[in-house]
């Protein structure tokens, strides 16, 4: 019964979106981090999705979602001159993380919307299957 595959596909997408939510939460939580060392400062992380079809493989090309990895943003790090800061280096500079709060909020909304879409998809498919089961009653 091919309708059952929808659960696998939507499940994999929900999994990927929840990772995205976690990464966004981590970025937002660390948005205000500063460090005296530019190499140690927190950099925004972004998950990368790819398609996945090994166990779902068939000729129709139905594919789930897989988390390919998490990449660090190479956006420039902000340098602030704050000689009074406890983390400031010899030149009196501190380095702030390159997290863009606006971008992360958009990411969070997008992830939650996608997650909801997948939940709706599972609900609809579940309804269809239950109706099919009660056929002829």
């Amino acid at each position: 019964m091919s309708l059952f595959k929808v659960f696998d596909v939507a499940g994999s997408a929900m999994n990927a979106q929840s990772v995205r939510m976690n990464v966004t939460a981590s970025n937002l939580a660390n948005a205000g981090n500063v460090s005296g060392d530019p190499d140690k400062v927190y950099r925004a992380k972004q998950p990368v999705f790819s398609t996945f079809s090994s166990s779902l493989a068939d000729q129709s090309g139905v594919q789930g979602v897989r988390l390919q990895g998490v990449v660090e943003s190479n956006a420039p790090i902000q340098v602030r001159y704050q000689p009074g800061h406890p983390e400031a280096n010899a030149e009196g500079n501190v380095y702030a993380s390159n997290v863009s709060t606006v971008e992360e909020m958009v990411n969070m909304m997008s992830a939650s919307r996608s997650y909801k879409n997948n939940v709706e998809m599972i609900n609809t498919t579940k309804d269809l299957l239950l109706q099919t089961l009660s056929l002829g009653r």
Binding site: L3, F49, G61, V62, G64, A111, S114, N118
Partner: protein
């Protein structure tokens, strides 16, 4: 036993289930870079069915009686996007959701038809009541 009155709707259900799967794959991959949205064409499946229904001689019991919507439901084809995206993904959520809802409704329609047929058959078998 293959009851022609039922097999028609059974084939339609099979096509709808397959399309449901393809559309769910599109919605699931809404954020996957370079994913290309796919869809099945009903007309295609119907054409395949008409082609298959041309009288073919059955010389073995292993030969499948083919009519209704063709088994694989036609070919999956890539959707042509109306708006370009930066990441090469061609899933347009509004289009996909509309298609998904429409397909679910069509599935339910086929189920309702099938249910009616089964009810009629039972009515006939029981001789009324």
């Amino acid at each position: 036993m293959d009851i022609p009155a039922l097999s028609q709707h059974e084939q339609a259900l099979r096509f709808r289930a397959l399309r449901n799967q393809v559309l769910s794959s599109n919605i699931a991959n809404a954020d996957t870079p370079n994913y290309k949205a796919r869809d099945l064409e009903f007309a295609d499946a119907l054409k395949g069915a008409r082609h298959e229904s041309l009288g073919m001689t059955q010389t073995s019991d292993l030969h499948k009686q083919a009519w209704g919507t063709s088994r694989d439901g036609g070919k999956t084809m890539y959707r042509i996007p109306t708006q370009p995206t930066l990441d090469g993904n061609t899933v347009e959520m509004d289009v996909e959701q509309a298609a998904f809802a429409e397909n679910a409704l069509q599935y339910r329609t086929s189920l309702a038809f099938l249910d009616g047929k089964i009810r009629t058959l039972r009515y006939a078998l029981k001789g009324g009541d």
